[in-house]
């Protein structure tokens, strides 16, 4: 038998059928649902008189629209409320498990799937959300889909797909103190561009990935989509297996032993071939800060904002000019001279317990700087929040001047009340710095949790490696 990549193995084990042209029917094990991209799918299902194929494969949670402040009064915005109520109704009617807004397990869909053990190695995981790539950290094939495909999975438990190309991104070496998974993935995107992974499934390999925690791997896979790839994945090892033990939806006892045996095969064979491989030396990665309106517009902390005049491609040059204009930045400005006035620590990229610990550590007893109008910490789930409170992190944040909120997507996309005003400049641990993403006219700089916390207490982007060194 020929050698296979991890992606090949996952693909082959879910292939129901394939026609001569390569169009395949792929079986879906886990379907995650949230309130924004599902209502039209449920409506379509109903109009066609169809029923969900397998409701026990579905886990639903409201996360995009939920308030992160006191929830006892419900959702103030009537349109947001209707959307969440529509999810509640659809799930109740069809017998789908949903963690309701006030359930202690509620949180961002990509945080709670793994946290509950609902994401397992060897699964296909889909969700009407592009950051579904996050779940690939478990050696799963996980990717985002549109609403029509949400309906398709509801109705058939399958998707019609064409196989992607295999892209390996290999990161070897040890990260400097203060450099995190977020910096690694931003550096990768800076290198290959936001379309670098288009048409590919990325497997992240190398000693740096092997040394990363599951939280770190999830951060990296989360942003595979920002590198253009629908799916990012990491092979299974002890770290994966240890993370899963005891989680509510994970198998237990004898079933777990059997599962582990099969999970051990979820890696690329030693001589498997990738269509393309890119390598990165982890030792050279410094803390990253985006300066533009696309995640590929990124610099290291010791660099300056680049000059569009140095760009040869005219469309790219115009894009850089437009981005700098939108961001109100001048070429040549030192990254450390950029002063955010908002700090957002949250999102499915960086709102897990390890992220909150890293941010808390970077505060080092200091207070939020005078120029910061708002500093938010939004845990990724109710359970992350509770864990952080057990460790006293909430107090650390609050004493420093941060607001400690209820879990949800919050200012990552500003669909609820948490948003930037025009001209606001935010150090954000989220994944997209697109125009208007965090509020119309808002300016986003993507950074790691430690970098965001350091910016909050110093008032500008700071080289935390130097500080720690």
């Amino acid at each position: 038998m020929s050698s296979k990549t991890l992606y090949d193995k996952l693909w082959d084990s879910h292939l129901v059928r394939q026609d001569e042209a390569g169009t395949a029917l792929i079986y879906i094990d886990r379907h995650l649902i949230h309130e924004v991209t599902s209502p039209q799918a449920f409506e379509g299902l109903r109009l066609a008189g169809r029923k969900p194929w397998r409701t026990d494969s579905i886990l639903a949670v409201p996360d995009h629209n939920v308030p992160t402040t006191d929830r006892s009064l419900g959702i103030a915005d009537p349109i947001s409320r209707l959307q969440v109520e529509t999810l509640d109704q659809n799930c109740a009617e069809l017998g789908i498990t949903e963690f309701l807004m006030n359930d202690p397990r509620q949180g961002i869909v990509h945080v709670i799937g793994p946290e509950q053990g609902a994401t397992l190695p060897g699964m296909t995981v889909v969700c009407g959300d592009s950051h579904t790539s996050t779940h690939g950290a478990f050696g799963a094939l996980a990717f985002g889909i549109g609403t029509s495909d949400v309906e398709h999975v509801l109705a058939t438990q399958c998707l019609i797909l064409k196989k992607s190309k295999n892209l390996e991104i290999r990161v070897d070496g040890q990260l400097a103190a203060g450099v995190s998974a977020k910096d690694v993935v931003l550096a990768i995107i800076g290198r290959i561009g936001t379309a670098g992974g288009t048409g590919s499934a990325i497997e992240f390999t190398g000693t740096t990935l092997r040394a990363m925690s599951m939280e770190g791997r999830m951060t990296v896979c989360n942003m595979a989509i920002e590198a253009g790839a629908r799916a990012g994945m990491v092979a299974v090892d002890d770290t994966t297996i240890n993370y899963l033990g005891g989680r509510p939806y994970a198998p237990k006892g004898e079933l777990l032993d059997r599962a582990i045996e099969s999970w051990r095969a979820l890696h690329s064979d030693p001589d498997a071939r990738f269509a393309r491989s890119v390598t990165l030396d982890a030792g050279l990665v410094l803390p990253q800060v985006t300066w533009g309106t696309s995640p590929e517009m990124v610099s290291a902390i010791n660099e300056v904002v680049p000059d569009p005049d140095d760009e040869a491609d005219s469309v790219k040059r115009d894009g850089m000019r437009r981005a700098l204009d939108y961001m109100d930045l001048k070429p040549g400005t030192a990254i450390t001279d950029i002063h955010p006035d908002h700090v957002f620590i949250g999102s499915c990229t960086n709102a897990r317990i390890e992220d909150l610990r890293a941010a808390a550590a970077a505060i080092r007893g200091r207070k939020v700087a005078a120029g910061i109008k708002q500093a938010l910490v939004v845990p990724g789930s109710g359970l992350v929040k509770r864990q952080a409170e057990t460790e006293g992190l909430d107090k650390l944040f609050k004493d420093a001047g941060f607001e400690w909120r209820e879990p949800g997507c919050s200012m990552c996309l500003a669909m609820n009340a948490d948003r930037l005003a025009p001209g606001d400049r935010c150090a954000s641990t989220s994944n997209r710095n697109f125009e208007g993403r965090q509020g119309q006219g808002g300016r986003t700089h993507l950074v790691s949790p430690a970098m965001a916390a350091a910016a909050a207490v110093t008032g500008h982007f700071t080289d935390i490696c130097q500080e720690q060194g």
């Binding site: 029917l25 079986y27 209502p39 609403t147 029509s148 058939t156 379309a195 629908r230 669909m415």
Partner: protein, 215 residues
Amino acid sequence: MEKFDKHHGVVMPLDRHNVDTDAIIPKQFLKSIKRSGFGHNLFDEWRYHDHGEPGMDPGSREKNLDFVLNHPRYQDATILLGRHNFGCGSSREHAVWALMDHGFRVVIAPSFADIFFNNALKNGLLPIVLDEDDIDQLFTAVLETPGYRIRVDLPAQQISLPNRHTIHFDIDPFHKDCQIRGLDDIDLTLQHAAEIRSFEEKRRLTAPWLFNNQN
């Protein structure tokens, strides 16, 4: 799904790389639980000077006359000409619904983000990938010629330009057939229901933990 066969229409150029779905339809409009009504908010933040919220009367809003969608010569445009990585970012199908609601039937670009490409095909918005050179020439022609129209012939996989030149484009045969016949792919898949069921049963035996949803 709307059928797509042949289409003749005015081309609107959008000369930017990485046009993301947040720009195509901003998040506040995603609160709708419907599939229609997004057209007035297509490119909302580029198209209007004021901040848009759901339910606002588009007629009372201040238009950004510099934005290409507001140029009089592109008012009837049904074909959007874009640049690299069109439709990147969020998986929101609302982006496709907004483009179609506004009247677009075709998007031509040198590359598309995977999810957007797929979403477009699911709705009968035809995404066409062309070489960079062809794209550059189309941009030049559109900018030079007011009312520039082209003919897209899906069965022949051909674009005909006013100067009688033609450009061939590729499309996967499965998608081509679905577009031309306006097929519902759920129906197509359900024709294989027995195969899906037998796959599922086998999987239940080999990986029972995937079917054990107890917590």
